[in-house]
Amino acid sequence: MEILAGSISAGLLIGMVFALVALGLTIVFGVMDIVNFAHGEFLMIGMYTALLTSQATGMDPLLTLPVAGVVGYLLGIVCYTGFVKYLLRGPMVAQLLGTFGLMLVLRNLALLFFGSEDRTIHKGILVNRSIELFMGVRVPVTKLAAAALSVIAFVLIWLLINRTRIGKALLATALNAQGARYMGISTERMNTFAWGIGGATVTIAGALLANFWSFTPYVGLLFTMIAFTIVALGGFGSIPGAFVAGILVGFITEIPGFWDYLTYLSGQRWMAKVPMSSFKYTGVYLAYFMIMLIRPRGLFGWKT
């Protein structure tokens, strides 16, 4: 029973962080129909920002979140105005491969500057502590805090988009760019803003993940795929969809845990031999494939 409860809570907590990871991608896609393959690289930069600022200033890793957010906002804006803007004129092939190029450049620049060794954050008020939730289930405080802060960030972004003037302008651009332009909204500025918000949310998620995830410059691709799966499952462009789908994908990554529980329940020998933990993320890729086949619109999608 503890195994099961442990897997469920772990899936739930990591799923909330995943939802924040995917939020930026779904905003950018919703506003301007372009997929950003460098999304995971933004997250990786957020992780290194958290690590390096906390090392340089001696601050607690949690306090580096605003720094990571600012870095991500600027990065998003620079990428859009300096590069993505020019991609939008070209055909789809160019848009696809263009952000791939961005991904390669960011990843290998990180490799050049930070090296390829595994990094983890060792100190901080939360690191290496755990608390008992219920029924003997212990979760690390870092994961709990990351999940809670992700939910807060998520709600703030949702409020920003649905309750403020600029957010409504963003939404209008997403629904009908031409109509928005007629209403006097500068869609160019909205695109830039969407990239800024997208970058900021994903780097904040990266800074949260850095507290318990050991990382190298190669970590980006995994998160890009996770984010794509979440966005596809939730529906391209849907913000509540991203939240629900994030948690579902969190559960998918905990499939090895559920498998262990089933093995324990049934007592079958062969089940223990399946190297399920090596397939931890294969389930995510497979899930993307299945979603696209069964329901390409996603759970809450309004763009097809």
């Binding site: 997929v35 590069f83 190029g101 290998n108 497979l286």
Partner: protein, 335 residues
């Protein structure tokens, strides 16, 4: 028969193209006869291999406009089939290569059927997902050597062994891959003028119109995908005999798929010469950059920064690639 005639028919190109192509072909045949370093030789072999990969991608990605970013999985299937059949059952290359092609084509139908129901971004991401699933499986599958991969020990055989394609000198490999290269070029030339080739181009330009004209879009895409995978898998089989050490990370990674697509796009996708031009620019750039700044100075991945930069530039400025620029100038001169 018609296709065979088409394969050797280059008459629709301007004369200057044919002169340049002939000169390049003479150079390719003559190159090994002149003194050369082994480094230049391996660069040339890599160039021929990658232009074959890019030609394969060009059928579906260039003519068809379906941006497939999972082609490395077919490279992996071809390479693994040959390596395993050689190491475990001592099968000659000329048998294992068709087996590998057959397996790739079967696999391409299995995943192609669901894949081609998707379009655009969705298709591209799904093709990546499919290849990553296969790579994850190969990384834990003991039969194919899991993450360690599989190694062909050349001392077990007596080179030069033309049946198993095990040689000591690179020059033998060079001529084998040159033969493949010429066959690949002829196949692509036949494809370009075949019914299927025209169907694919109409699908790229406007899928709905193509469908309304009675083209079975799904089936046309799947057939082309099978042709592309067959070419890539055959070259992958050669890769296994040439490199002799097959790992999932080297043969099936996403970076490789991107590289293949990039070469076709840099040269000019959807044209006969494009993939060759792209490979001719990028492969030497890669080897010389690596040799120049590579591991010695600890600057890992600097070649990939260049690559990424090139992809960004080409997709923002001239998405039709080098050949696109040439064609634009020609059109301007004509008018």
């Amino acid at each position: 028969m018609e296709d065979l005639k088409n394969a050797f028919d280059f008459s629709d190109f301007p004369r200057i193209d044919l002169i340049v192509a002939g000169a390049v072909l003479i150079f390719l045949f003559g190159f090994p006869l002149f003194p050369h370093s082994s480094f230049a030789m391996s660069t040339m072999i890599q160039f021929l291999m990658f232009s074959l990969y890019a030609m394969g991608w060009n059928t579906i990605g260039g003519f068809g406009g379906q941006v497939d970013l999972g082609q490395a999985q077919y490279l992996g299937i071809g390479a693994y089939t040959t390596a395993i059949m050689l190491v475990r059952w001592d099968t000659p290359f000329w048998i294992s290569m068709p087996v590998g092609i057959l397996m790739s084509v079967i696999w391409s139908f299995i995943i192609g059927y669901p894949l081609f129901r998707l379009k655009g971004h969705y298709f591209a991401i799904a093709s990546i997902a499919a290849s990553l699933v296969l790579k994850d499986i190969f990384e834990v599958w003991e039969f194919v050597g899991a993450a360690r991969g599989i190694e062909i020990l050349s001392m077990k055989y007596s080179p030069p062994d033309f049946m198993r394609l095990i040689f000591k000198e690179d020059i033998y490999y060079y001529f084998v891959i040159l033969l493949f290269f010429i066959i690949g070029l002829l196949i692509l030339n036949a494809f370009r003028k075949s019914r299927l080739g025209f169907q694919l181009r109409s699908i790229r330009d406007n899928e709905d119109v193509a469908r309304s004209l009675g083209i079975n879009v799904q089936w046309a895409k799947m057939k082309t995908y099978a042709i592309a995978t067959a070419m890539i898998s055959a070259t992958g089989a050669f890769h296994a005999c040439y490199i002799k050490n097959i790992e999932p990370e080297d043969t099936m990674s996403l970076d490789l798929s991107i590289l293949i697509a990039l070469m076709a796009m840099l040269g000019g996708s959807g044209s006969l010469w494009g993939p060759i031009i792209g490979a001719a620019v990028l492969v030497p750039l890669k080897s010389y950059l690596k040799a120049l700044l590579g591991a010695a100075s600890g600057m890992v991945g600097i070649d990939l920064i260049f690559y990424g930069g090139i992809i960004m530039l080409i997709s923002a400025i001239e998405p039709k690639g080098i050949w696109g620029i040439v064609e634009k100038r020609r059109r301007r001169r004509r008018n």
